[in-house]
């Protein structure tokens, strides 16, 4: 009989327990694939939607046919991208940008659906008044939009219109204002615009944070399956199957189960797409199509996870396959090298030096944080080993002794179980302390209008007086100054200090539009736009990583605990038979996870807090701990972990309940 047929027969004769094990392993595979596909979807989707956004930034061509001007205004603090187009006379007609049916004629206004809705919703004096008001608006189609939530207006002008001609050609790298003669509109670009700058980086961060825990989860599920199969395979070994055959069978079965689960996970990904697409990231929610990774990636992920599960199952089974009596003979306990400590110390030293130099910028800080985590990853097993030995020396209660001995017996395994939460601890520690939202210039309530000296004859004081009139007419309480000392202004101009909230600011922005023809008033939001977006996305990535990190870490801890019970069911059964209380065995199992978890996850949480305080003092904001959120994260993590371990208690009870089967 060939291996595959034999494997199938074995799988079918595995009984109810066997099927339950397969189901668990398949579920873990499904979760792994689901998370990996979502990460991949966000990464690829960020690229796709960047392509959809690329056309708004003009790509200069001196022999072009039209003038394109990009500017950004804010409503309720949210950026509105404004693209103004003017066909140059005596030049060939310009093709319309993506999402527009025709090249906009002077006076025509195209709005994204979200902006159109907002214009209907808000009083004209707060938003619509900033743009020309045609009899009816056109709608920008999906091809020109990165997100259904995007706020975009495309306005047709004549080339001489000051709204276009007085716009600066660039805004010193901010990427929110630009003007150029163009010959067409890019549909793919390396630089999709500053509001999308962090999209892919953020997605990559999430991948970096989650890929290891997800693979650990897949491997844990492979181990669980192997533990279930061990008994039948040991019997086969006695019946004369060669180790190679047994490994092949195990691999085939684990792969099949993993692939089945992975396909379910892929299907779940497909079904969840419309829901996931509603989760905002950066500029807003997604078009579901942008999150579709395509069949090639889908298959690749399924194969990857099924492969990891098969390899993990085979390596878990190697011991049994080699020893005919099924007695796991592990000669020496694993030793962890002190070299790990050296690597960690070198990395930590480097991090310390770089951090004390300050002024790393966001990128440098992130790199350093990842390095921190890498160093921790190296150090983890070594710390677990040491912990085991120290506790082993001083333990008095048998449960503690058992836990300690297990830690130093398999430090890497114990580390794998907790590494996911250790990582989540870092993210939680960092996010609850970092005052990222406070980065950037802070001039609340100010609305500024830039005035270039060439402005025909009018003095800044004249303009300030006009602005006062306009603001008063709109019913606003404001003080207007010309060229104040410390303000939002980069150059000469007027600044209105508005009393009130977002609605009043939006009114001021609207009434001051056109004060100087072609010059748009602005608030602090303009200068802070890119950093605000980055901070928001960091928060979104951090939260997602935390949530999914908890999910995977708790699931794999639970699976590992169950696999351990099954691996050692004979010993546990005999111990119980000889009078060892079940509670003691459970306590030992809990300790062996709790001790490294508390010490290591506690350590990384502290590290995250420390990194965040460094960042805070670097950008000069005050320190404030969001202790409540941190406590909530720690609590949720701990509860999830112990619930997952506790879930295998009934399993322990069940496998030890039947003493007569002690000889299997």
């Amino acid at each position: 009989m060939n291996s595959i047929a034999l494997t199938w027969k074995l799988a079918r004769t595995g009984g109810r327990r066997g099927w339950q094990g397969q189901l668990l392993a398949a579920a873990a595979a499904a979760i792994s694939v689901l998370i990996l596909l979502l990460l991949l979807a966000v990464y690829l989707g960020a690229g796709t939607r960047g392509d959809h956004a690329a056309w708004r930034t003009p790509s200069p061509d001196p022999r072009g046919t039209a003038v394109q001007a990009l500017s950004t205004t804010f409503v309720r603090g949210t950026p509105v991208t404004v693209v103004q187009l003017a066909q140059l006379p005596d030049r060939p007609a310009t093709a319309p940008p993506p999402g527009l049916t025709d090249f906009s004629q002077p006076g025509e206004v195209y709005l994204s659906p979200a902006l159109a809705a907002l214009i209907r919703e808000l009083p004209a004096g707060q938003l619509a008044g900033r743009f020309p008001r045609p009899a009816s608006y056109h709608t920008i189609g999906r091809a020109g939009l990165a997100s259904p939530d995007e706020l975009i207006a495309v306005i047709g002008r004549t080339p001489a219109d000051p709204a276009i001609s007085s716009l600066p050609e660039s805004d010193a790298g901010l990427g929110l204002t630009a003007r150029a003669v163009v010959s067409g509109f890019a549909r793919t670009a390396a630089n999709p615009g500053s509001l999308f700058a962090f999209d892919q980086t953020g997605a990559l961060m999430a991948v970096g944070l989650l890929v290891v825990p997800v693979l650990v989860l897949a491997a844990a599920s492979g181990r669980l399956g192997a533990a279930r199969r061990e008994q039948r395979l040991a019997g086969l070994r006695l019946a004369g199957a060669t180790p190679r055959q047994i490994l092949a069978m195990t691999g085939a079965e684990a792969f099949a189960v993993g692939a089945a689960g992975a396909m379910a996970g892929a299907a779940a990904y497909g079904l969840l797409l419309p829901l996931v697409a509603r989760v905002p990231y950066g500029v807003g929610a997604w078009y579901p199509g942008d999150l579709w990774v395509g069949p090639a990636y889908l298959i690749a992920m399924i194969v990857l996870i099924a492969g990891v599960i098969a390899v993990s199952a085979m390596s878990a089974l190697r011991r049994v396959a080699m020893a005919p009596l099924g007695v796991a003979r592990q000669a020496d306990p694993q030793r962890t090298r002190t070299a790990r400590l050296v690597v960690f110390l070198v990395a930590a030293g480097y991090i310390g030096v770089r951090a004390s130099q300050g002024n790393l910028g966001i990128g440098g800080t992130l790199t350093l944080m990842l390095l921190c985590y890498g160093a921790y990853l190296t150090l983890g097993p070594w710390v677990v080993d040491r912990l085991g030995r120290i506790i082993g020396r001083f333990a008095r209660r048998p449960a503690m002794l058992l836990a300690a001995r297990r830690l130093s017996d398999d430090p890497r395994g114990a580390w794998r179980t907790v590494s996911g939460l250790v990582l989540a601890g870092f993210v939680a520690g960092f996010c609850s302390v970092a005052q990222l939202g406070a980065i950037g210039a802070s001039y609340p309530g100010q609305v500024a209008v830039q005035v270039t000296p060439a402005e025909g004859g009018q003095t800044v004081e004249d303009l300030a007086a006009q602005a006062r009139d306009r603001l008063r007419a709109a019913g606003l309480i404001a003080t207007v100054q010309a060229d104040p000392d410390d303000s939002l202004l980069w150059d000469s101009g007027i600044v209105a200090q508005i009393t009130g909230g977002p609605a009043e600011i939006d009114t001021a922005l609207t009434v001051l539009t056109g004060l100087v023809p072609g010059v748009a008033p602005y608030t602090q939001d303009l200068g802070n736009a890119d950093i605000t977006m980055t901070v928001r996305q960091l928060g979104q990535v951090g939260f997602a990583a935390l949530l999914l990190g908890f999910l995977t870490a708790a699931t794999s801890a639970g699976l590992t605990a169950a696999a351990t019970v099954l691996d050692r069911r004979r010993t546990y059964r005999l111990l119980r038979l000889a009078g060892t209380p079940l509670a003691l065995l459970n306590r030992a199992r809990t300790w062996e996870t709790a001790v490294p978890l508390v010490i290591l996850a506690g350590g990384t949480t502290a590290l995250g807090v420390f990194a965040a305080t460094r960042l805070n003092s670097m950008v000069g904001t005050g320190q404030s701990t969001n202790a409540g959120r941190l406590a909530a994260c720690v609590l949720v993590g701990a509860v999830a972990m112990f619930a997952a371990i506790g879930a295998s208690r009934p399993l322990l009870r069940a496998v030890t309940a039947d003493p007569v089967r002690a000889d299997d």
Binding site: R329, P333, R405, T571, L577, A578, G579, P581, P659
Partner: protein, 235 residues
Amino acid sequence: MSEALAGYGLVKKYGSATALAGVDVAVRARESLAIMGPSGSGKSTLLHVLAGVIRPDEGRVMLGEERIDRLGENRLSALRRDRFGFVFQSGQLLPELPAEENVALPLMLSGSRRREAVIRARRWFGPLGLDGLERRRPGQLSGGQAQRVAIARALVVEPDVVFADEPTGALDQATGEEVIRLLTTVTGSLGAALVMVTHDAGVAAHCDRIVQVRDGLIAGRRQSAVAPTRNGAAS
């Protein structure tokens, strides 16, 4: 001399299958009893009923003057821990504990301090020929050595009765003989009774008495022909 452990009229059914069909069996202090019989005849069931692991459907189990087959689960657990010792075919040692801690574990479970428990455990290594192996882990021991560590663990609580289920099942002939010789003599020198399940006549021959079980009934009893005179020396 009165019985250390006795079962009267023991019946145990699994659904329609009868594992024990009315068995009387007794063992005295210092005495060793071998339970023999073909596979599936009810040997292990008998051992487990006597050891308070399984409750019989009918009959009584007496440990000295105390009836134990009606005790609660926690009492039974404590009883097994403190007054019985167990030796199985294999797999009873915790692989990550050094030999001496495996032996000390039952003492710690019964409330001894760890230092004390390890010191008492070490005393058993010499008599069982395990000198120098105290810090080895089970994976670093041979099959015979591991079984001798298991014997030390069964005896360290100074039990009234030692139960052994196929203790030589995973060993070769010569090693098995050696392990059995140690098991019977050391158990006897402690003053404990020994109840041992085996299907190996050579192994059974080391015991004072042998009962044959067939289809859940005692099919024969005899004094072991070649039983060593260890009890004779003691009495």
